[in-house]
Amino acid sequence: MDTQSAEVGVEEGPNKIFISQQQVVDEEVQAKVEMLIAELHGTKHHPPNDPDAQKLDHGFHFFKTNIFDAHPEYFSELAKGQSPKFLVIACSDSRVSPSVVLNFKPGEAFVGRNIGNMVPQFDQLRHTEIGAVIEYAVKSLEVDNILVMGHSRCGGIERLMTLPDYTQTYDFIDEWVKIGLPAKKKVLQEAGDLPFAEQLTLCEKESVRNSMVNLLSYPFVRNAVVNGTMIVRGGYYDFVNGSFEQWKMCTH
């Protein structure tokens, strides 16, 4: 199809669309203009060739009809405010959503998810993302528990245990997973003779412990733990064998 040029632009404000035609506007451009107009009028319109968008809409529709509309009182209460008892720090891995694995319902768990479910030490320059999650959970929501949840076959831990690896350099990943270096060091010291796969499993769990210790470097966490109003917990989800183990930090 030849390329007559036409400019389509949208000005600030919902009702101004200008079209300047240099030559004949072809059908494709016309369709795009109509779609823009529909969008601006608030008509939901996903192009038929965007199945990924449709999947999201279907997913929401399922939730809306089967869960949200089925429990109106529950959700109207929740809309007024949340009071979760848990902060869960889990890996971004698509297989380990705490809502699924631990059957948390909406409102039960405030969740932070990152590569390798890592908690770095308190650092107001380098780690505001996780710091803000923990701060909000502890100070504003006053959660009773922080659960750091590790898992099997973690790509982040594997990268940590593979470093240094000069065959592949990343802008961010290596720097991030180095949060877990104390865990790696311990595993190599105590189990350096074991097969790599076993070292990985050990490191996945040791990294959880390392993150639990790092939590105490946040003064508001320390205070809550010392006052007995919050417990720091660790967990490990093994999706190869279908098991979950948990442990907690004792303060007495």
């Binding site: 590569i115 993302e129 802008d171």
Partner: protein
């Protein structure tokens, strides 16, 4: 919960003020009661975690051995999702994502910071892993109603003084959304400003995704699309929109 307990404490205090020698006995008993309550609360949480996993294991894990067997070998999600840490907006619930479908980052107000190797390694690592290693096809940033993080952003005083260790610094990633919304305000209420800022922040985050070279490259190759979304749990609505990005040569006429 209030007055019964307060009355009991008042009666005990009165008694102890009259009989001071009971003080140490009372202290020991109070410590025991406190410890018992703590243990009960703590074992409630132990049980909650345990029963939660048992439910998942029996209702899902064991009933879908093929799915979980495949997932154990590796993940290949088509989506990367940024969602807020808020307990009410987990994408596994609201978008019915099944295990294996969506790689997720959850942080305060689902913000994507701009490329910064010093300040934002967490977000950077997640995006890098998702785009380069997992090769996701979509990145979706989902804002939501009544977001405490956005409210915090809108509440930062004009002189910029902050009271938090992290929160206000973090949410300032979307300061430009606040500026935009306020400048277009026309006497909106604080609540309305927050509502608008929730959506505008998603757009700021989508723009920030473009600061990552590997994101731009995938967009240009058309192996990746960026989408913004907003979940309104007051009215039970979900909005979804695309960011269209293109680098194309201009025509020579």
């Amino acid at each position: 919960m209030g007055s019964e307990y307060e009355e009991a404490i008042a009666a005990l205090s009165k008694l102890l003020s009259e009989k001071a020698d009971l003080g140490s006995v009372a202290a020991a008993k109070i410590k025991q009661i406190t410890a018992d309550f703590e243990a009960a609360g703590s074992s409630d949480a132990d049980n909650r975690i345990k029963t939660g996993f048992t439910h998942f294991k029996t209702e899902k894990f064991e009933k879908n051995p093929d799915l979980y067997g495949t997932l154990a070998k590796g993940q290949s999600p088509k989506y990367m999702v940024f969602a807020c840490s808020d307990s009410r907006v987990c994408p596994s619930h609201i978008l019915d994502f099944q295990p294996g479908e969506a790689f997720m980052v959850r942080n305060i107000a689902s913000m994507v910071p701009p490329y910064d190797k010093k300040k934002y390694t967490g977000a950077g690592a997640a995006i890098e892993y998702a785009v380069l290693h997992l090769k996701v096809e979509n990145i979706v940033v989902i804002g939501h109603s009544c977001c405490g993080g956005i409210k915090g952003l809108m509440s930062i005083p004009d002189d910029g003084t902050t009271a938090s260790d992290f929160i206000e610094e973090w949410v300032s990633i979307c300061l430009s959304a606040k500026t935009k919304v306020k400048s277009e305000s026309n006497e909106m209420s604080f609540q309305e400003l927050c509502d608008h800022c929730e959506k505008e922040s998603v757009n700021v985050s989508l723009g920030n995704l473009l600061t990552y070279p590997f994101v731009r490259e995938a967009l240009v190759k058309k192996t990746l699309t960026l989408k913004g979304a907003h979940y309104d749990f007051v009215n039970g609505k979900f909005d979804l929109w695309n960011l269209n990005f293109q680098i194309a040569p201009t025509l020579a006429l």
